[in-house]
């Protein structure tokens, strides 16, 4: 077993450098594919994490008229709490809204104090059991005379999920095309390596080498192209990680920090697995069809 592995790895290494131009071209296309793959996956993961977060945080915010009475408030609270779609209702009075604002924006707090009266409306913050029930609650609130306006967050949510759908569809199509191209390039590269070694393969057969000794060096060579491509891709990702991370955190600023760390590790593992996998499968297919006789 040890002579077999040592022999196969040595031959794979020699084979890679024997036709270095072909091997490096195959590695380059592998890098291209894996970079695209990680780009699409990072974008997809970022967007869907954001969507999940936003959906979890969906609140219907209804602003009340300044003329709303305390009877209006308690009636609305009772009605809302009676609705099965509603999880929780919080009433924020005008005074509370002002305090919250001053806490959130200390820089302009003094400016607010100079105003003749409180410009902020009172509001209901309503958490929903299921974000898709938004419409029912919003429709009910809009019919109430005490309600001035209802913040329209539904549009944002549906726009985001359609963006994610487009990204994942286009991404999958692009990945399939690039993946098949890369597989094809690997099959051809290894086929050329096999043909270049036809003489050696003939001798190996004559002296009684088993099929494994003939086949696995080429499979390892293909897997090596994938491994090298994956390592280069991970290197590139590490180089762009810092600027990318700051871009992402400003873009998806609601994302919890630990999620991005998870993304980094998972993407690296995925790049490694896909690269080695495609190299392995491509060269296996290539060698198998050649030696089957």
């Amino acid at each position: 077993m040890i002579p077999f592995i040592a022999f196969s790895l040595k031959r794979a290494w020699q084979g890679f450098w024997r036709n270095s131009l072909m091997s490096l071209a195959a590695t380059a296309s592998m890098v291209l594919m894996l970079t695209l793959l990680s780009g699409v996956v990072i974008l997809y993961l970022g967007l869907s994490a954001t969507l999940t977060y936003v959906q979890g945080e969906v609140q219907v915010v209804a602003y009340l008229n300044d003329s709303a009475t305390s009877q209006d408030v308690s009636r609305l609270t009772a009605d809302l709490q009676a609705m099965p779609q509603v999880k929780a209702v919080t009433y924020v009075s005008k005074d509370q809204a002002l305090k919250d604002f001053q806490k959130r924006e200390p820089g302009v707090a003094t400016l607010v104090e100079s105003l003749p009266d409180n410009p902020l409306p009172a509001s209901f913050n309503i958490s929903l059991r299921d974000p898709s029930d938004y419409i029912d609650v919003a429709t009910y609130l809009r019919d109430q005379s005490a309600v001035d306006s209802v913040q329209d967050i539904a549009k944002t949510v549906s726009q985001m999920s359609s963006v994610i759908n487009v990204v994942s569809t286009v991404g999958v199509v692009v990945l399939v095309i690039v993946g098949l191209t890369t597989l094809f390039i690997i099959v051809n590269t290894i086929r050329l390596a096999v043909v270049a070694r036809a003489e050696e393969i003939e001798i190996m057969r004559l002296v009684g080498a088993s099929d494994a000794f003939i086949r696995w060096p080429f499979v390892f060579e293909g897997a090596f192209v994938g491994l090298l491509g994956a390592l280069i891709t991970i290197g590139l990702l590490l180089l762009v990680q810092a600027p990318l991370a700051s871009l992402l955190s400003s873009f998806f600023n609601v994302l919890p920090v630990q999620a991005t760390a998870m993304v980094g590790q998972n993407v690296a593992l995925m790049v490694l697995g896909t690269g080695v996998g495609i190299g392995f499968v491509g060269s296996y297919l290539s060698v198998r069809s050649y030696l089957k006789r």
């Binding site: 040890i2 002579p3 022999f7 190996m204 004559l206 002296v207 009684g208 080498a209 088993s210 000794f213």
Partner: protein, 259 residues
């Protein structure tokens, strides 16, 4: 062995009268090769071998002669199971080749040493590495390779040229490298397909002497050849093929039929 080539004049002398080879294999010991009614027909309808019967006892030295296209190379391809017979049975060391599993073929090949007219050496490897290659690709542990290679290089008289590449060697030395590679697995059967076809007469005798010596070590030798001088001088068993049929099988015979 001495590297001084021997000419036909000092080749072993045998009775000049050829006699038919005994058809009963048991008379000469256990046969290492048995062909029974072997026919090989290719997809294009051409028959390369027709109803061939042959029995080669262990330790025999057999010349396979006949014009080009008579079926000599086909017989060799069948013997090493590069191809399967269309009809008939080929039994090698008691194993029916048609029933040998695909994964058992490599093990069987290691029992056979084979050399060709065109040597089939790897040009970018030294003599030593060419011979070691046969052991490397069959999973021999590294520690066993060097002594085995040194031993066969001594047998063929190439210890001094071990680090040279095939391009730096004469034709005879290249064929001796190929013979060393074929011997390194300690085969029971040695098949040579036109081994002297690319060599001048003097060097050819050197190679024949080496094959005789391998035969003396107890290895059965089957040599396909057009070299009339060598065949006639040695008076060994001669199997003649013509148009895919065995037309003669004589012991102590000449290249051409003498009756």
């Amino acid at each position: 062995m001495s590297s001084v080539p021997s000419g036909p004049e000092n080749a072993p002398r045998r009775p000049a009268v050829a006699r038919p080879h005994p058809t009963d294999p048991a008379a000469d010991g256990t046969p290492i090769i048995v062909l029974r009614g072997v026919t090989k027909t290719y997809a294009n309808g051409k028959s390369a071998l027709r109803d061939v019967n042959l029995s080669v006892p262990e330790g025999d030295f057999v010349f396979l002669v006949g014009p080009s296209g008579a079926g000599k190379s086909t017989m060799i391809r069948l013997l090493i199971r590069e191809e399967l017979a269309t009809r008939g049975k080929i039994i090698l060391e008691g194993h029916d080749l048609a029933r040998l599993k695909r994964r058992d073929v490599p093990r069987m090949r290691r029992r056979i040493g084979i050399v060709f007219q065109d040597f089939k050496l790897l040009p970018n490897k030294s003599v030593r590495d060419n011979v070691a290659f046969a052991l490397e690709v069959t999973g021999t542990p590294r520690s066993l390779i060097k002594p085995a290679v040194d031993r066969v290089l001594r047998v063929v008289g190439l210890s001094g040229q071990a680090d040279q590449r095939p391009s730096e060697l004469s034709g005879g030395e290249q064929q001796r490298t190929a013979i060393a590679r074929a011997l390194v697995h300690d085969p029971n059967l040695f098949i040579a397909d036109e081994p002297t076809g690319n060599l001048d007469p003097l060097i050819s005798w050197e190679i024949i002497q080496l094959l005789l010596r391998i035969n003396e070590m107890g290895v059965t030798v089957l040599m396909a050849t057009h070299n009339a001088e060598v065949v006639t001088a040695l008076r060994k068993r001669v199997v003649g093929l013509e148009d895919g049929r065995v037309v003669r099988d004589e012991t102590g015979a000449a290249y051409h039929r003498e009756d």
